[in-house]
Amino acid sequence: MNDLSVRRFYGWFTALGLLVGVLVVVGYYRDEYREWKEYQRKFIQEEIRRASTPQQRALAESTPVQIRQILLTDLNRVDRCTTCHLAVEDPSYGGYPQPLAYHPLHEQHPFERFGCTICHRGQGRATTVADAHGNVPHWDQPMLPLQYIQASCGQCHEAADNPAAPELARGQQVFEDSGCRGCHKLNGVGGVIGPELDKVGARRSPEWLKKHFLAPASVTPGSAMPPQIFSETNLEAIILFMLSQTGESAPGYYASMRVIPSASEGQRLFQQKGCIGCHSIGDQGGKVGPALDDVGLRRPPEWMMQHFRDPQTVSPGTVMPRFGFTETEARALTDFLVHLRDQKVALSLPSLMSPVERGREVFRKYGCAGCHGADAKGGVPNPNAKTAEQVPGLIYVADGYTKDELKKRILNGQREITALDPKRPPPPLFMAAWAGIIKDSELDDLVAYLFSLKPKEENPGF
């Protein structure tokens, strides 16, 4: 009986009981003493220090220490950044070190409606610094470095429209100029040699994108994409533009608010509503209404706005119908008309352009420059291709093809590219078949443009 006596276990009992007790206490402390509480306490101290009246002091002292969150059901997010970033709305905290700094320029995008992560990314639900800023394993949307913040504008706004995001507009320009669409589809338009880019901004980091542009094979083994040559500014801009392609759709309220009344939006509306049917610009258009070339000189913007709201009120007896424009649309159209005198704006109206000019736009739209070089001059490497290891330029197509042959060639493509050396790997770039992608009218214009590229006969006398 003695060796079974439980008394020799009393010591164990004490030890284990104490161990469990201690562990419970440790668990409690780790749970209770969270990082964010320290930041809140520092903020409260600061508020107390700055209080100039007893009421302010009392208000500061009674500030509860609790998690703060912005609930954004439409965007399917919860942002808890304001648990630490407590002074984002208070201008008097400008210049303070983070996390107590003021966040300027939020008038257009009040925090209660937009939260933080829709622009800055990161992990809104987290309440520790490292996890919230998102540079942690198993979170694929870390915070955007501040230099790329304009990329987020592109999630809702048209890149070219936004005066507050010039880098984004530049990025889109670089994208179109470089002909990336020749291989990559974006928003449904483009080639099929490379992957679609609609969600690339959500999946790839800025570092990856930079490497990808400069040396594609280093991040995507076996890639057919030739290394790109960009100036530093253009490189950053196109990275930014890529980051803006996240595939986020702006729901309800956000979609209704996202139009920026800019000249390019106005131009789109001008096309859409068919104003050219009654009004003329240059020698194109209808004669029912007055010519619009110099309307910016003749009418002040307020008059134009009222005219769009209700034509009868400023032009009694006019036949111009009431289109029911929203204020934003009216402002966009006004802006467009005011800038109509700028050459660039007027010439981009497709209905005013010649087939060659339209063809140049088609060349740009489908990104042909990505393989055939800027202005179709060639120079894009295609290793082991018989054509001097390059994708051929198109300047002399008028010599080698009839118009019909050229159209067929574009529609059918050429999958097999003759190799220079059969022992080396086949050339990675090939001519895709554009049948079903390019429209017939676009094809006609494109051929017209390509035929126009042949340089005029040089003066033999020189």
Binding site: Y10, T14, Y28, I67, P91
Partner: protein
């Protein structure tokens, strides 16, 4: 056999005394603390309902002498001159949303009538409509806090 004798006599050695007491205290504490922890676990720290503190726009959005109904928050924003107040639109009888009348407020459900101060004039409502605290946020917006009920004569003066 002195061990078994002491077992039966409800006596233990001094060492056993301390060991057992300490062990039971620690264990009981652990159980109690765990139970308290489990209860605290069940108390929510964040809510997934619209916040009771919300911004009601800029002061200038509200014309002088206006009573503006805010549908989602079920309150009226009242401006007179430079003073701003916020009145609950929830009838104190059974919770219907009251309507603004020329003067005062009428409840369409059981006919309670409230005056401009929110007090009950007639009908089954047991007490007046509640006034909520209005302050000015750091970015110059009206900030309504439905957690804070205030007297009818406490308003924001700008």
């Amino acid at each position: 056999m002195n061990h078994s004798a002491s077992e039966n006599k409800n006596e233990v050695s001094r060492r056993s005394f301390f060991q057992l007491t300490l062990g039971w205290l620690a264990s009981t504490f652990a159980v109690a603390a765990s139970a308290a922890g489990a209860v605290r676990f069940l108390v929510p720290n964040v809510l997934y309902e619209p916040s009771l503190r919300f911004k009601a726009g800029k002061p200038d959005d509200y014309p002088d002498g206006s009573v503006t109904f805010m549908e989602d928050e079920r309150v009226f924003l009242v401006r007179q001159g430079n003073t701003f107040r916020c009145l609950s639109a929830i009838c104190t009888h059974l919770g219907c949303t009251v309507n603004r009348a020329d003067h005062g407020y009428h409840c369409p459900c059981h006919g309670s009538v409230f005056n401009d101060q929110g007090n009950v004039v007639s009908g089954p409502a047991p007490r007046g409509l509640e006034w909520f605290q209005v302050t000015l946020s750091k970015d110059n917006r009206l900030l309504v806090d439905k957690n804070q009920r205030v007297a009818a004569d406490k308003y924001l003066v700008l």
